[in-house]
């Protein structure tokens, strides 16, 4: 904190007074971090909106149609936005919009929404349509719940409203909640329907980026557990409807899925445990937790065997990277806290020093967990903006940053390496092999030959 406002003698300052409470230095700051607030006007937050939060959670449901009720932009910007892979339908990679025009805003968009649903059903016969509210439709009061209900009755499929008007909050977490409510609406059994209980588990908050769900499934199969359905990576409407049949819910992305897990526990009595498949140690610990839950000795034995084998397999590679990366200085700025925690541990494993960490949507307890992991003197930022990131990337002499696309271009401009850990990445970073891939990602950017040329003194032209 104390050095926060002493940036650059000339030119603009990175510091906005009202942001001071959202930036702390571990071991030095007396107060806890201010977080979970709406973004400050004019602060150039890296956050998106409620609608974005809802769409990233639901979009990986592969055979559903995702229909954005609003003017064109909201659909354009979220078309095929995630790197989630599908083993079947590619429907989710399309982006449908009611494309509201001025006249629709004036006269109301309900009729157009109904007509769009009818057209989609006629053309594709999807098992479900998610109808997303946007700022405008929320503002003019289009009743998407009623339109969806009527359409659902008319066509005999699930038409599920998602109450995701962007202006409700700049915090994606609120959008996660809107998506969670839509998911619960989808999986609640219809009257007279019964779901057969099984020994399978659900994997919540796993989006199959780079096939990560498939990799975790391979581990689980080996120890003798079957995945019922993942929320929502490579899921289908039919599979999700069987969710109540699981005997356990695993929660990975806590920000998006804790609420769902609690709701499933209340409604169907299914217990849940937190897991984290990013990093070898986390993966091992998560597998052990699962085996312990089943209380099956044979399963625990298989789990240990798997862990020993995989750890032995990846250790030499990780060690090679560790030698190259020890002492390098790393920064992290990501969406959710569970991801930040996992990346901190992985950087550590590679012998690196973490000098800055931040998230878009972390909560107080998340930041406490993060603080405990970090050395004194580390900067922690909630809801950072480019000016703050720039300031600390320079001051802390960062060698490599992990984050999303908007952070990547800034890092490169500052001559700093970068690791993509965002929702549209193509690499599998989970599990034991993901730990190796992550190490490689860090290595190829931190130790790239290009920095040598970029950092050489400017040539006179």
């Amino acid at each position: 904190m104390e050095d926060l406002c002493t940036l650059q003698p000339v030119g603009p300052t990175a510091c906005i007074d009202e942001r001071e409470q959202s930036i702390i230095t571990t071991g030095r700051s007396k107060t806890s971090i201010a977080c979970t607030n709406d973004s400050l006007a004019g602060a150039v937050s890296q956050r998106a909106c409620v609608f974005c939060g809802a769409r990233v959670v639901l979009n990986p449901i592969t055979d559903a149609v995702h229909l954005v009720h609003g003017p064109i932009g909201c659909a354009t910007y979220t078309w095929d936005i995630r790197g989630s892979l599908s083993s079947g339908s590619e429907m989710y990679r399309n982006s449908f919009s009611t494309d509201m025009k001025e006249r629709d805003v004036i006269f109301g968009g309900e009729k157009k929404l109904a007509a769009c649903i009818d057209e989609i059903v006629e053309k594709y016969h999807p098992p479900a349509i998610f109808v997303y509210a946007t700022c405008v439709t929320g503002m003019i009061g289009d009743d998407i719940i009623a339109v969806s209900k009527e359409a659902s009755n008319r066509h005999g499929i699930d038409v599920i409203p998602v109450e995701s008007s962007g202006f409700i909050s700049g915090n994606k977490i609120i959008g996660y909640r809107a998506a969670a409510e839509a998911l619960i609406r989808l999986i609640r059994p219809k009257e007279g329907e019964t779901i057969v209980p099984t020994q399978k588990l659900n994997l919540l908050g796993e989006y199959n980026l780079g096939g990560e769900t498939w990799l975790i499934e391979r581990y689980l199969t080996e120890i003798g557990v079957e995945i019922n359905v993942a929320f929502t990576g490579d899921s289908t409407v039919a599979k999700l409807k069987k969710a109540p049949g699981a005997c356990l819910n695993l929660v990975q992305c806590t920000g998006s899925m804790h609420w769902v897990a609690r709701k499933l526990e209340q409604t169907f009595g299914t217990p849940y445990i937190d897991v984290n498949f990013f990093g070898a140690a986390n993966t091992a610990e998560s597998l052990r937790k699962i085996a312990r839950f089943y209380g099956d000795e044979e399963m625990e034995r298989r789990t240990e065997a798997l862990i020993v084998r995989e750890m032995a397999r990846i250790r030499p590679e990780i060690e090679w990277y560790r030698k190259k990366l020890t002492g390098k200085r790393a920064a992290i700025y990501v969406g959710g806290a569970y991801k930040a925690l996992a990346i901190i541990q992985q950087f550590r494993r590679l012998g690196m020093d973490i000098v800055m960490t931040g998230t878009q949507t972390g909560k107080k307890e998340d930041y406490e967990n993060i603080s405990h992991l970090l050395e004194p003197g580390t900067i922690i930022i909630d809801d950072a903006n480019p000016a703050e990131l720039e300031k600390f990337l320079i001051e802390k002499q960062v060698d490599v940053m992990a984050g999303g696309i908007k952070e990547r271009v800034l890092a490169y401009k500052l001559g700093i390496g970068f690791v993509d850990h965002n929702h549209d990445r193509k690499e599998c970073l989970a599990g034991f092999e993901g730990a190796v891939t992550f190490s490689r990602e860090v290595y190829i950017t931190t130790c790239s030959p290009v920095w040598k040329y970029l950092k050489a003194p400017d040539k006179e032209v």
Binding site: P12, V44, A48, P71, I72, S97, V105
Partner: protein
């Protein structure tokens, strides 16, 4: 008017969008003004989405502030947030200009922008920052209209009656920084001095080096914009720009600056038109360097004309680019079979009529369309190559149609900011990319195809 066969797009739903929204175009235009920051009045998401799309295309940090309206302010008015946002942007970025763009939300709320900003200026007399406001609700048009609207608003803000001078105004549509630099080089070679608006050739494609600046150096200087009213002529590459959004028309009607409204200098004849105009304005004949470049283009056209004759292109995107790239295709014997834009623009239709007067086969023309319709039309017409932005990636993924990437956004390849298509040199560079895309497909498949056609089995 040629007989253009059209697919009837009476459907309501838009499936896979061909256009972005209005404020996005406004952002790009403002990024072309020296020392300018952009503020979007609406919910937080809009600014972040627009940053993301620009970042992926330009590979540059593109900072866009938001007034970050929440539910309460949406009901009670966003004035306090907007003012606070202006304060914070001024503090952190110290800009000379702030472009304020509205969103669907602000417009639907009925924010009285003129009044709010008038009050703000009174309250902060000393700030000395120019605040330029443009209404850009997404439901009002695409990013194309947003770009023109912002460019016009910028001129309207600065232009005053001024003494006549020798400079030329250049007004560009949404093209790549590389194309802007090429256009400037051509004017320089004719010895003309000019003000190009909006000039984001450096701000959205900054060379590495030096101390990082939050607002990149470069951009059209505001004092030069103020003098555009006294220029001897305006050259606007805006054949498809509607009159009500036309910056060049504003300068013409308000200040009597003669307007040469030309097609983009992409394609032989389009570039010839620019050259003729520049010869007239400069009193100089074609510089040798450009004459040579024209010769190389002609040479290249001859070299590849037979390959190009196999091309059945889909051309889509912003109207001005669609017209320009359709022209290249027609000139090279690869007349488009589908011409499409996400923007509604009846001016394009009229222009295409003339352009396509002599082609053997009339294309399907789609306006205000989506990629579902473009895909249908491509199948219907047997298209085998596409020209446009990354939105067309499914044409390749799902139909095996190669895509020559031009326009905005290019988010699944690198170097969107460096794609050069303007001038004789850029035209040839594009033509080579186009021809090679055709050849790549041909060489990958012609042996197998011929075997299939002839029913030749392995070993027989």
């Amino acid at each position: 008017m040629a007989k253009l066969s059209q697919i009837n797009t009476v459907k309501q739903v838009n499936e896979n969008q061909c256009q972005s929204c209005m404020p996005l175009g406004g952002v790009v235009a403002f990024k072309g003004i020296e020392n300018t920051m952009v503020l979007v009045h609406g919910s937080q998401g809009c600014s972040t989405y627009m940053r993301l799309m620009n970042v992926e295309h330009y590979n540059e940090p593109v900072d866009i502030a938001s007034s970050a309206l929440n539910e309460k302010q949406t009901i009670h008015g966003g004035e306090a947030n907007l003012k606070k946002a202006l304060d914070n942007v001024s503090r952190v970025y110290a800009p000379k200009v702030i472009g304020v763009l509205t969103t669907c939300l602000a417009e639907t709320m009925g924010e009285d922008m003129d009044r709010i900003l008038r009050d703000y200026r009174k309250e902060r007399v000393t700030s000395g920052i120019d605040i330029i406001q443009v209404p850009t609700p997404s439901y009002g048009g695409s990013h194309t209209e947003g770009f023109w609207a912002a460019t016009k608003a910028i001129i309207a803000y600065y232009a005053r009656p001024t003494e006549e001078h020798k400079q030329i105004n250049i007004i560009i549509p949404h093209i790549s920084p590389a194309d802007i630099r090429e256009i400037k080089r051509i004017f320089d070679l004719f010895g003309l001095t000019y003000t190009l608006l909006p000039d984001y050739s450096m701000t959205l494609d900054r060379p590495y080096g030096g101390r990082y600046q939050k607002i990149p150096p470069g951009g059209t200087q505001t004092q030069d914009i103020a003098r555009m009213s006294g220029a001897r002529a305006t050259i606007q590459f805006g054949l498809t720009c509607p009159d009500n959004l036309s910056p060049g028309l504003l300068l013409n009607q308000e200040y009597g600056v003669p307007l040469y409204n030309l097609p983009l200098p992409i394609g032989l004849q389009n570039m010839d038109r620019l050259v003729e105009t520049l010869e007239k304005l400069s009193g100089r004949s074609l510089p040798d360097v450009i004459r040579q470049e024209r010769g190389w283009l002609l040479d290249g056209m001859a070299d590849s004309h037979k390959f190009n004759a196999d091309g059945r292109p889909i051309v889509y995107g912003e109207p001005e680019l669609v017209y320009a790239f359709s022209s290249i295709c027609v000139e090279n014997g690869a007349a488009p079979v589908v011409i499409a834009s996400g923007t509604r623009n009846s001016l394009l239709m009229g222009l295409l009529g003339t352009l396509l007067a002599d082609v053997d086969e009339h294309p399907v023309v789609l306006e205000e369309t989506d990629f579902a319709a473009i895909d249908d039309a491509g199948v219907l017409t047997g298209a085998n190559i596409a020209i446009g932005h990354s939105g067309g990636k499914f044409l390749t993924e799902r139909r095996g149609i190669p895509l020559v990437r031009v326009g905005f956004p290019i988010h699944d390849r690198t170097g969107g900011q460096r794609v050069l298509s303007a001038g004789y040199t850029g035209t040839l560079a594009f033509l080579d990319r186009f021809t090679n895309a055709l050849l790549e497909t041909k060489y990958e498949s012609y042996r197998e195809l011929r075997k299939e056609e002839m029913g030749i089995k392995e070993g027989v």
